[in-house]
Symmetry: C2
Subunit: 355 residues, 2 copies
């Protein structure tokens, strides 16, 4: 099969069932990601309707209510008490990592479908509880790995699955951002170990190359090795202002990544196979450019911009409404949590850690 064929119908939603109805969504947490990315995406998604926001910031909540024409602005206590819970069918949890569990517990008790931001929680034990409560209440749980609905990433997976780059051999890449330029506040939750989890750069952004590689290769991590430092004062409570880490996947596929929360914003992922390469560059910052190399030739494909967040909410609504099982589910998210814990163990112990 020719590479070009994979791109003929590039923007198609290969997962779409187009069910009847609309999923009413409550957004729990009104930080930057919710305000600037999630809320606009929900508005745009055909099968989603925002009905409710949950926030401790009454003022921000009222502004959102005006802008999006919704009637329900809850504080966390009201949310926990089930106020207005008849006006939403699902909950998008976009609060600091270490607080996901309690908001998901409430949602599960109230029989709401859950879309939870990544990583699932601050620690593996809390993440296991989170997955467990959704299982017990039999509610759908999706982990918000938006890369998995990016059309470029999905076409790349098809290419790899069909053997167009031969057998995958290794993967390398980077994800770096300027946390303090984006959020100039030393007291932010990402710098607080209780809220962020084992560390900052790998759990928040280094997880992108890991999870995207899992998705592209359809294989899970086996071993990790990692090294990290936090030379800057405001990062002193987290081990990994900057980190380099190795992840060995099933079949001995090697990967090597770097991540930093205090470096120029850049993202890259290349899968090297025996017969070609797949490169995503930029990769993870809501903009993806795909380049395929094979047989000495290069096919670079810049696509029209696809809003991954719209894709994510459409996917979530589509699957909840049609009752189909969801792609990045709780068990999938737990594997990332075990990988993160292993990476931070390796940073501390300076040795190879099995997952």
């Amino acid at each position: 099969m020719e590479i070009a064929a994979y791109f003929e119908d590039f923007t198609k939603r290969d997962w779409q069932s187009d069910p009847e109805g609309t999923l009413d969504v409550a957004v729990v947490g009104l930080g930057n990601w919710a305000l600037n990315h999630a809320l606009p995406a929900i508005s745009e998604a055909a099968h989603c309707e925002l009905t409710t926001v949950v926030t401790s910031n009454e003022h921000a909540g009222q502004e959102v209510a005006r802008e999006y024409g919704i009637d329900h602005v809850l504080n966390y206590e009201e949310y926990s008490d089930g106020v207005a819970n008849s006006v939403y069918d699902s909950v998008y949890v976009v609060t600091p990592n270490g607080t996901h569990l309690e908001y998901v517990q409430t949602a599960a008790r109230n029989q709401k479908a859950v879309l939870c931001e990544k990583p699932l929680e601050a620690t593996t034990s809390r993440a296991e509880e989170l997955v467990g409560v959704c299982d017990r209440h039999d509610v759908p749980l999706m982990v918000a790995y938006r890369m998995q609905v990016d059309p470029a990433v999905r076409r790349a997976r098809e290419l790899i699955r069909d053997g167009l780059i031969g057998d995958p051999v290794h993967v390398y890449g980077n994800n770096s951002v300027q946390l303090l330029e984006d959020f100039p506040d030393a007291d932010q939750w990402r710098l607080n170990p209780d809220l962020v989890g084992y560390g900052v750069s790998v759990s928040d952004i280094g997880i992108y190359p890991v999870n995207t590689t899992r998705f592209l290769l359809e294989r899970d991590p086996r071993f990790v090795q990692a090294s990290a430092v936090s030379p800057t004062d405001v990062f002193q409570d987290v081990p990994d202002e900057r980190c380099s880490f190795l992840v060995e996947f099933e079949d001995g596929i090697q990967s090597a990544f770097t991540s930093s929360q205090n470096a120029y914003s850049e993202s890259h992922l290349t899968v090297v196979g025996t017969k070609g390469t797949v490169e995503l560059s930029p990769a993870f910052h809501l903009e993806t450019e795909l380049t395929i190399q094979r047989g000495g030739t290069e096919t670079s494909t810049s696509f029209e911009w696809i809003n991954e967040m719209v894709e994510e909410f459409e996917y979530f609504a589509d699957h909840v409404l049609s009752g189909r099982s969801i792609g990045p589910d709780g068990r999938h998210g737990l594997v990332d949590m075990y990988t993160l814990e292993a990476i931070y163990d390796s940073i501390e112990q300076g040795r190879r850690v099995e997952i």
Copy 2:
């Protein structure tokens, strides 16, 4: 200073003194690299003259003699005995890694300047002997790291030195080749531990990102971690058909690389700083494209093709003839040997190894 200024005089040889005279060169070893890359480069280099080749393959030697119009084709015994040693001033050693020492010993005893292929030898102890013999006989020793004379790499180093990408934070990249497509022979020296050294992919090609990073950052490696597998039968005697490895440089700069001798031919190196990035892609396969990102803008610079091998021989001749000290010298090459040994120790022991 503007980025563009670094490229105004891109191809300039910032090291050139243009001395009088010509350096007569003996090439020791007539493998693929000598035949296809070194001999043509020596012909082209203004200050070099090929006078002698040393080979166990009389037929190949005579062909080279005809093609390049030289009179002296020696076998290894004749070379060792000093036959015709008045017709060359310098020796380029391009034999299997584990044989460099004896040919350099001969050269040093005969007061010849030495350009030795990388890595210096198969093991650190033999490499130390090699450097020691050149020291004792007071002959110039250059290690053939051609990336260090690539104009793109040199301009990139200036940019980084002048702070145009801020403080370097981390580096990532890859070097992979299809060894068995390039040389379809299971008995080749690169697959023989006695001749190649600790392993195959890192010592032969993974050393490129390590050494180029050393040059670009002007800092040395401190710690390594590595993981490797050899799933293919012909690679069973070497540990690293494919490898992923971390190198922590001075100032806590993290790096993460992959290398393979049995994957699609690809090479990449990106330095991520606090204010920008420097990317070489392709990086190491005799062709280099440099891209600078800074302040949200990208400057991509494809240059006219520069033959790094010509640059290398010109540099070597220039410095030997003018008596100036040489850039990648023996001590520089030894640091790479210590790094290689540490990487292979880490592969075996699954732990962080100090260099």
